[in-house]
């Protein structure tokens, strides 16, 4: 396929939808992700309603200031991602590479903080089935609270990690000069995924850490 044929502007939109197929495909994938995270968040809400004594007050177990800062880092990564997209739509190759790299670094920092948070929580005994992991003591209610907490935040962290890996690939292609003001579809698709991951964290942070 020639470069001209691959350009974003030349791609024929899906009849009736007026967006090109790959972008529509990403949107449909993200909609399935909405249902995936709804199942996790919904389970958490229901279990919390059913067993309020198994869940701690906000800030009693989880480190809210640290995670608020981490939330801010992820929001910053969304800005850098959208700036990368804006740069390539203007044909700014240098800007694209710079902002993609910033996004990767911020995303990696986010995952790093999450790992540190997990280590600290596990040392404090906030693990489901503490006896299985040889933890000396278990925080009361951690079996249910911990299971839902690690499932939700763990799946989100996995999504961020996958996003970072994909973004390295996009950055590699950007370094090869594969994208231009006429061909930026991959950057746009990458951005949609990244912003969705940010959006999910905004909801998770509120429900898991603040309420």
């Amino acid at each position: 396929m020639s470069q001209a044929a691959a350009s974003t502007a030349d791609r024929h939109p899906m009849p009736g939808m007026m967006v090109y197929n790959v972008k529509l495909g990403m949107w449909i994938f993200l909609l399935s992700e909405v249902m995936f995270f709804t199942a996790l968040i919904g389970s958490y809400i229901i279990l919390r309603f059913a067993h309020p004594d198994h869940f701690a007050e906000p800030g009693a177990v989880l480190n809210v200031p640290l995670t608020a800062f981490n939330t801010f880092v992820l929001i910053c990564s969304s800005v850098s991602m959208v700036k990368a997209y804006a740069a390539i739509t203007q044909g700014d190759q240098k800007g694209l590479r710079f902002w993609l790299l910033v996004t990767i670094l911020l995303g990696t920092f986010f995952v790093g903080v999450q790992v540190v948070e997990y280590i600290i929580l596990a040392r404090e005994g906030f693990v489901p089935m503490a006896e299985l992991y040889g933890v000396a003591h278990e925080i009361e209610g951690a079996a249910l609270y911990g299971a839902t907490f690690y499932t939700m935040t763990g799946f989100h962290g996995t999504h961020v990690t996958i996003g970072i890996l994909c973004m390295w690939f996009v950055l590699y292609r950007a370094w090869q000069g594969k994208y231009s003001a006429d061909n930026y579809g991959a950057v746009e698709i990458m951005g949609l995924y990244w912003h969705f991951v940010d959006l999910v964290w905004i909801i998770l942070f509120t429900i898991v850490y603040l309420i």
Binding site: S78, Y85, I207
Partner: protein
């Protein structure tokens, strides 16, 4: 993206998201009834999520049909939660 070719104010949105995050953290520790806390926090979270979807995911500048598609799982999500809620 933006049909008129003008770039949205990305850093203004970022600033609003930052302020809302700080407001959320402050609000979460106020001595208010639980239902009032939860309602306020969820509204702020939805506001932030909407800003990300509209401006960073450029939904505001997309065809209306994509809006409908994007909103389609929301009723399903509500149905899913309500359906499971009746089980306990």
């Amino acid at each position: 993206m933006a049909g008129n070719g003008q770039e949205p104010r990305y850093f203004l949105i970022w600033f609003i998201l930052f302020v809302l995050t700080m407001a959320e953290v402050g609000y979460a520790f106020l001595a208010l009834p639980q239902w009032l806390l939860a309602t306020g926090l969820i509204l702020m979270a939805l506001w932030k999520a909407l800003l990300v979807a509209l401006y960073y995911m450029h939904l505001k500048f997309e065809p209306k049909r994509l809006w409908i598609l994007a909103a389609s799982p929301l009723p399903l999500a509500v149905i899913l939660v309500i359906a499971v809620l009746t089980e306990f």
